[in-house]
Symmetry: C2
Subunit: 280 residues, 2 copies
């Protein structure tokens, strides 16, 4: 792939890291980063991750071969709408959003038929938002979920692109993606936020490694995670209910002093954990 | 301190690591390890962490200057009872138990007045139980909570001992200890067990770092943790209720689509996490 122009909408941690990785693997690509305001412009400029920082959305997008959306879910939906009138025919749009069904619906609604949309979600991220924290190797060995049909030419190009960056592509429907992500990521974040909120400030100095592990992700940025939780709320509400049911089993067993039941619940977790350990 | 005999009841990960650390820092100490059955005898012998492995409890304890209990809470209570008739006058007993009020009650009931009891809880542990995983430096830089009065001669000796091993001694009442540990350790374990139990086996291969962090401690051994959860159940039941209340706040805000409320809850967690990060 030669001399392609890539426009990145949302040059933060994920988008900026993508820019760095693309520049390394595709030295002929020209990477533009859109900045929605002066402060974003200054930060992106200072980080030096893209070839050109551009304040004008139309100029950023209109002649781009790839348009990448690395924004919180609601931002992606909003910018789909904004670019729909001037995105180039034949361009390939992909996103890095954490929930896929809502983005699919928006793509169907706003993205012209002459443009190719490939929903993506690389499973890597970090608690630290911001272009200042970008890392070139972020996508190396990361699982990259693609929710578009594997058969189109546009998907094949995007697959190749992720693979060149070291990502492992997995195809999933948006529906299944959202179900799985609710369990393996969105619920854990909700739990971590709640645990951190719960604990008394004066007890923090006694925190053990167990608490630190559990609360690590609770510095994940609020705007991003508000969007994620809301955009996947059907799955998440169901999972939260299921999780609370298990907490209540512990509650009931402790109230009864049912040593055997508590032991059984822990052994179930031990065994499942063993499966997880063997996978990684 | 010279030529002291230390009897360790419970030569597993914590007890065995203590034996290794004591041997390094107090080369004149003679460390005996009690083995309750042939299989324990063989494992301890093979690990080579104590000077002598002894199957006879009376022989292990009767002439010991220090008797250390490194067992699950219920085991500690049980062995207090067993040794009460033959523990040496003037001996110092201490334990490494994770809940302190129940152990205090048992000490008051079973340990003769001529013997000194100093309740201890070093805040280090590991998911891996067993003498095979011992590490000499386990107590280095670990916070060691002591629940006995700081003024007695026996306590002063035990303080010195932990400090020599590199531990940082903190005095707390048993009551406050149990309250704090419920929040910073017991509830996080209960949450981790529940999260691991909840997740579908077929989703595990998509687990992100967030899930791995949250589930790491769910391979903590069932016998140890059944005891801990039950021995601190009043505090834990109250904390569990408080934690579920916060989960329900997320639930309600998501159901209403209340973006601002969700953002507020996350920001609260972000801020508390910042306090925790600054502490460590």
């Amino acid at each position: 792939m030669k001399n392609k122009k890539v426009a990145i909408i949302g040059v933060g941690f994920m988008g900026g890291s993508l820019a760095l990785a693309l520049r390394e693997k595709f030295p002929n690509f020209i990477i533009w980063g859109y900045a929605r305001n002066k402060s974003a412009y200054d930060r992106i400029k200072k980080a030096g991750v893209v070839h050109k920082v551009e304040r004008d959305l139309k100029k950023s997008v209109q002649d781009a071969d790839f348009v990448v959306f690395a924004l919180p879910v609601r931002g992606i939906v909003e910018y789909f709408k904004k670019i729909s009138s001037f995105v180039k025919k034949g361009a390939i749009i992909f996103d890095l959003g954490s929930s896929k069904e809502e983005i699919d619906r928006a793509a169907l609604k706003y993205i012209p038929k002459t443009v190719h949309f490939v929903g993506c979600h690389p499973l890597c991220g970090g608690e630290k938002g911001g272009v200042e924290f970008c890392v070139k190797g972020l996508y190396r060995d990361a699982s990259c979920i693609i929710t578009a049909s594997p058969r189109t030419a546009a998907t094949k190009i995007v697959v190749k692109l992720w693979q060149q960056l070291g990502g492992k592509v997995i195809f999933l429907s948006s529906k299944l993606h959202d179900k799985i992500l609710s369990s393996v990521s969105h619920l854990p974040h909700l739990i971590s936020f709640s645990m951190t909120d719960f604990i008394s400030k004066e007890y923090l100095k006694f925190s053990s490694r167990s608490l630190k592990d559990l609360t690590r992700i609770s510095d994940s940025p609020a705007p991003v995670w508000t969007d994620i939780l809301l955009s996947n709320k059907e799955n998440l509400l169901r999972d939260l209910e299921g999780f609370i049911k298990i907490l209540k089993k512990f509650d009931a067993a402790m109230k009864k002093g049912d040593r055997r039941k508590i032991g059984d619940l822990i052994i179930r977790a031990n065994k499942k954990h063993q499966v997880l350990s063997n996978l990684t």
